[in-house]
């Protein structure tokens, strides 16, 4: 087996020396669009599109060059510059273009190009379109930095960059208070995840003296199990934040406040999968700790059920898709946690999911476009007749996600379920049930949106979207159909050097697990059809006492839990400290007032008290110092 552990990446030459342009060009265009302002209002977005297409073409060139190279010359290191060089500190910033990162680069720039083109149509009437495209390009540059980095520190730069872009785009429609609040929430919850990632990187630097993937991979097999578990769990925390996995899942549903192309690009196809990338990239660490990889499996299982559950009870089409995204990423996490049997499948599902979920999000955007930005599925119905292209492309995504035989999701998801059964029956059963629920909520979405009676509000005149929007849909639908079959036989061999994945026999004829999956999926479809297809859909969501529905509608009370566990205690602590430390705020305000009103007597009395209080604090400090000194001596 050829693995990176035993194989240094070859030096960059030829085309590979220009790999950095993939990042630099979108970044430069983003800067130009932001700095040069109004002059570019009318044409700026085409620069942004050109930049992403340019990056995509470089990625394609690099990919084809890799295909032509022998397997041991496919991983290429592109050093950029020495970041820190002082004595034992050697951190160089560079890119690593190997079998894993090139797939991501293709996905990010390929799907990114389509979504940029779609956005030209979608955002045609937005006043701040130029800024929107600048942020999108910023995102592309940051995401490519994340996946192409050759060490964790550079990865972290990209990690923060995509966070920033995501944050800017979620809150893009600032006039909506809910959008601003959602941006803030995503931001805060991601800080928690970043805490984990930063601490993991610091620990790696302390233990290995380097944060380069090659160095970490080489040193990991000799790692003490305690530290492997520590680093693994910290990395998992980072992954949970970015990929909206339980317990850091709550921000993703709110992130749907952003423009729909953003949801498709960032919150479905690319950024939210960065956590899976992180786990697979750090496979050497997770292999050293069964506790950490079990934790990954548990997080994946819990999230795939929780996301599916939320998906079943939402009426907002984007939130159903968001729940579905959580759930599908849960599958990827599960696969990544299974160890070498699962890595390739995690990435496989990640890629196919990138196609069909981007397809469906853009389809949802097209529907919203038709329905005057209404997102409530109870106001849809019967749309298949008026928006035919959207319907058919969406249907391809639908068949792909539920795992209809031959479509993209069929291959990738089935492999994960089978691998899960191999490792643990419990995980396998969870994945199987998840597939059933997926079929249920996706059928519900299809039926409520495209089939059945028209439940349109007044003055809504649905129409098909312009070509700029439908052509990307068609391309994505095409890959939703063939993406799985295209990569099925190939991806395991391809990824083996980068992930150390075990190549498994995969046949096109389903085994017993494959058949039972199909059975469960069929049951899910039938149930959804029976509930939503056979009878009229109420235009207002019916009141429900069913605890499952109530919990689902409330995002499984994610906000309430966060609020009770994290937010309230923190605020209480800060206020408490302020009350003790900062009584001067009032006094300061008084002091200000007295400048204007001459009421200085009152203030002076207060101020004398203040100094005395401060001196008292100092005396308490003296006692603290004394106590610590004495304790030190005793200890």
């Amino acid at each position: 087996m050829i693995t990176l552990e035993s194989l240094a990446p070859v030096a960059a030459s030829g085309m590979f020396s220009y790999a950095w342009l993939m990042i630099a060009v979108p970044a430069a265009v983003a800067a130009i669009l932001l700095l040069f302002g109004r002059i570019l209002d009318r044409i700026g977005h085409w620069f942004a599109v050109a930049a992403v297409v340019f990056s995509f073409s470089i990625a394609v060139c690099l990919f084809s060059q890799q295909l032509l190279s022998p397997p041991d010359a496919r991983a290429v290191a592109v050093p950029l510059f020495e970041w820190i060089t002082t004595g034992s500190w050697q951190v160089s910033a560079g890119l690593l273009i190997d079998q894993l990162s090139i797939l991501f680069a293709l996905l990010v720039t390929g799907v990114g190009s389509l979504i940029h083109i779609y956005s030209v149509g979608y955002m045609a009437h937005d006043e701040r379109r130029r800024r929107f495209f600048a942020y999108l390009n910023l995102f592309i540059a940051a995401m490519l930095t994340l996946v192409l980095a050759d060490n964790y520190l550079v990865l972290f730069v990209g990690w923060e960059g995509v966070g920033l872009a995501s944050y800017l785009l979620i809150g893009f429609w600032q006039h909506k208070p809910s959008a601003a609040a959602a941006g803030t929430k995503a931001f805060v919850m991601n800080r928690v995840g970043d805490l984990g990632l930063t601490m993991a990187i610091m620990t790696m630097l302390a233990l290995f003296g380097s944060s380069a993937f090659t160095a970490v991979n080489a040193a990991a097999p000799h790692l003490d199990p305690f530290w492997a578990t520590t680093i693994g769990l910290l990395l998992l925390l980072g992954a949970c934040g970015k990929s909206a996995q339980v317990p850091l899942q709550a921000w993703l549903l709110d992130a749907m406040e952003g423009p729909t192309p953003v949801s498709a690009l960032i919150h479905a196809a690319t950024m939210v999968t960065a956590g899976v990338y992180l786990v697979v990239r750090s496979h050497a660490i997770f292999e050293m700790s069964s506790a950490a990889s079990t934790a990954v499996v548990v997080v994946g299982c819990v999230t795939l059920l929780a996301g599916a559950w939320i998906g079943t009870s939402k009426d907002d089409i984007k939130k159903v898709l968001a729940g579905s995204t959580m759930s599908q990423i849960g599958y990827m996490m599960l696969a990544a946690g299974l160890g070498p049997v699962g890595y390739a499948f995690a990435i496989f599902h990640l890629l196919t999911h990138g196609f069909f979920k981007a397809n469906m999000f853009l389809g949802a955007g097209s529907v919203m476009h038709a329905m005057d930005d209404d997102v409530n599925m109870r106001h849809y119905g019967g749309l298949w007749k008026v928006t035919r292209i959207t319907f058919w492309t969406f249907a391809m995504g639908y068949l792909a996600i539920i795992g209809f035989p031959g479509f993209a999701g069929y291959f990738s998801k089935d492999h994960i379920i089978e691998a899960a059964f191999e490792v643990s029956t419990l995980a396998g059963v969870t994945a199987l049930i998840g597939a059933g629920i997926t079929a249920f909520y996706m059928t519900r979405l299809m039926v409520m949106t495209f089939l059945g009676e028209k439940r349109w509000r007044e003055h809504v005149h649905p129409h098909e979207s312009p070509k700029l929007m439908t052509v990307p849909l068609i391309i994505l639908a095409f890959f939703s159909v063939i993406g799985g079959a295209l990569m099925n036989a190939w991806i395991q061999d391809w990824l083996e050097p980068a992930t150390g994945a075990h190549v498994q026999e995969t046949s096109l004829v389903p085994g017993p697990i494959g058949w039972s999956t199909m059975l469960v999926v069929a049951a899910g479809i039938a149930l959804a059809w029976w509930i939503f297809g056979m009878r009229p859909v109420p235009a207002v969501s019916p009141a429900s006492a069913n605890p499952f529905t109530v919990a689902g509608r409330n995002d499984l009370f994610g906000d309430a839990v966060n609020n009770a566990v994290v937010v309230q205690p923190t605020l209480a602590l800060s206020r408490g400290l302020v009350a003790n430390d900062d009584r001067i705020i009032d006094a300061g305000a008084d002091g200000l007032a007295s400048v204007f009103t001459g009421l200085s007597t009152q203030t002076r009395r207060l101020q004398t008290g203040q100094v005395r209080a401060y001196a008292l604090t100092m005396m308490i400090g003296v006692l603290l110092v004394g106590a610590v000194m004495i304790l030190t001596q005793l200890g």
Binding site: A206, I584, V622
Partner: protein, 520 residues
């Protein structure tokens, strides 16, 4: 009968300090003799030339290290690598922050200092002085005197010299704090508080000196260190003395629980003075602390490391958590400065000696201070530029939408905030990394983990400011004042160096690492 040796004094080596002192004295002469309309210009030229010449002396002297390292002035000043580095940084930061003192365009041709600081606020005398366009150009010599004290403080090699330097440094600062042109009562109140609490802390410091003398029989750092290695008396005196010395020094650093003065004084003092204090005072206090604890008390590090570790945790915690809820920009920066003191203490606790090629504690502290210093100088200079009818706008709500009014200024402020937060690609990140790894190698991994956690919470504080500037509706009536180069130079340089140190930290890291051996 003993012969009395004539005191020796190395004029050439100590020329940087003497130049600054001389410039301050000439400044007093100008105040007394020059006609009023020439004074301001003369003072500005004087301080720029004075600091510039001092810097040239410093560089020339440092280029011949063989002759010029060693104990100077009868052993009371230690001229070693750290002294040179800290003198250099002090001169640079003093020059940059004093440039802001001289800004007159923002305030209708007047400085940020009161027209007549001795007049009662709101009185006829005050109005008269303002009308006559009087101004206190004494602020420049005062700051230079303070700078002299700082330079001696960081290089002092005995406790008495350190104490005298501490007072020379502090007294002008008390005065400067009370001279704000606007919100004068607040400013005077702050000055008085600073003075009273400063006096209290000096008393602790002096008491600590006395007790340490009682233990070792000497003020000299080297002799104290010898006495610790080979004690004559019991260690009780030493521990008590050590604790009191620590209190005096931690007060000046602004560490919790000796930090109460910081928010009030930072808010009350004229903003240019706040900038001067936030970096120069902190640098001097940290420098002196490191020297006292490493050189004099290094043999007892097992006794003071836990103490400083506890103080570091409390300081980071209180600074960060309280900064979370601040609504006033200067106050937020004050609590931010407290939390930075905590991060610096993390490296002080680490106390790693110079393993070849590794960044040691002192090197990391100095790097941190330089990164923090450039960000601080720029940040306070920007605070002077955001104004409304009544002067500077300190409420953060008033900064809302600054990104639309002046994308350049808001962008620069954002860079500075990112550096404070320690986001990668800024100097602040490398600084945090350096201090954390110094503490880690010193065996304080739990402290590092706590510090990392606090630094992530702290990031929220700064990012909130960025969010307010760029994503909120612009506040009414707040404008970015048209400033002269006196403000723009520190602003631009602060942003440039913050970014530069993040991209190319190598040269400075090499410099601070290579010259971090203390002499005694």
């Amino acid at each position: 009968m003993t012969t009395i040796a004539a005191p020796t004094f190395e004029w050439l080596q100590l020329a940087p300090v003497l130049t600054v002192l001389l410039a301050a004295c000439i400044g007093i002469g100008i105040e007394a003799l020059a006609p009023r309309r020439w004074r301001f210009l003369a003072q500005v030229v004087l301080f720029e030339v004075g600091i510039g010449v001092a810097f040239v002396f410093l560089v020339l002297s440092w280029l011949q290290p063989t002759n010029n390292l060693g104990l100077m002035a009868m052993g009371s000043i230690s001229l070693d690598g750290p002294s040179y580095l800290m003198w250099g940084s002090l001169l640079v930061f003093a020059l940059l922050s004093m440039l802001v003192f001289a800004e007159r365009d923002l305030n209708n041709g007047a400085t940020a200092f009161a027209a007549s600081a001795a007049s009662v606020p709101g009185s006829a005398a005050e109005a008269e002085a303002a009308l006559a366009r009087h101004e206190h150009s004494e602020v420049f010599p005062l700051a230079l005197f303070s700078l002299t004290g700082m330079m001696v403080f960081v290089a002092a090699n005995d406790l008495l010299t350190a104490f005298v330097a501490l007072e020379v440094m502090s007294l002008p600062l008390y005065l400067l704090s009370g001279m704000a042109r606007r919100r004068r009562l607040l400013s005077q109140e702050a000055a008085l508080k600073y003075f009273l609490l400063g006096a209290l802390s000096s008393a602790f410091f002096l008491f600590g000196i006395a007790l340490t003398y009682g233990f070792s029989g000497s003020f000299d750092y080297g002799r104290i260190s010898d006495a610790i290695a080979d004690p004559v008396y019991g260690r009780g005196l030493l521990y008590t003395g050590m604790a009191f010395l620590a209190i005096g020094l931690l007060f000046k650093i602004g560490a919790v629980p000796f930090h109460n003065w910081v928010p009030d004084v930072y808010v009350g003092a004229p903003t240019p003075v706040t900038g001067f204090m936030a970096i120069c005072t902190k640098l001097a206090a940290v420098g002196a602390t490191v020297r006292v604890f490493y050189v004099a008390l290094g043999g007892e590090r097992w006794s003071w490391q836990p103490l400083l570790a506890v103080i570091a945790v409390v300081t980071m915690g209180v600074g960060v958590v309280i900064a979370l809820t601040q609504t006033d920009m200067k106050r937020l920066l004050a609590y931010s400065s407290i939390s930075h003191a905590g991060f610096i203490l993390v490296a002080v606790v680490g106390a790693t000696a110079g393993v070849t090629g590794q960044v040691n504690s002192f090197g990391s502290i100095l790097f941190y201070l330089v990164a923090y210093g450039f960000a601080t100088v720029g940040a306070f200079a920007i605070v002077t530029m955001v104004r409304d009818q009544a002067g500077e706008v300190h409420e953060i709500s008033g900064w809302a939408g600054l990104g639309r009014k002046s994308p350049l200024l808001a962008g620069i402020f954002a860079i500075l905030m990112l550096s404070f937060a320690g986001i990668p690609l800024t100097g602040g990140f490398i600084g945090k990394w350096a201090v954390f790894s110094a503490a880690w190698r010193g065996g304080y991994s739990w402290l590092v983990l706590a510090a990392v956690a606090f630094s992530l919470v702290a990031a929220y504080v700064y990012l909130r400011v960025i969010v307010t500037m760029f994503f909120s509706e612009p506040a009414e009536g707040v404008v970015v004042g048209k400033a002269s180069g006196m403000t723009w130079v520190p602003v631009a340089l602060g942003a440039f160096v913050s970014a530069y140190l993040g991209l190319f930290p190598g040269p400075l890291l090499d410099l601070v690492t290579s010259a971090s051996t203390f002499l005694r």
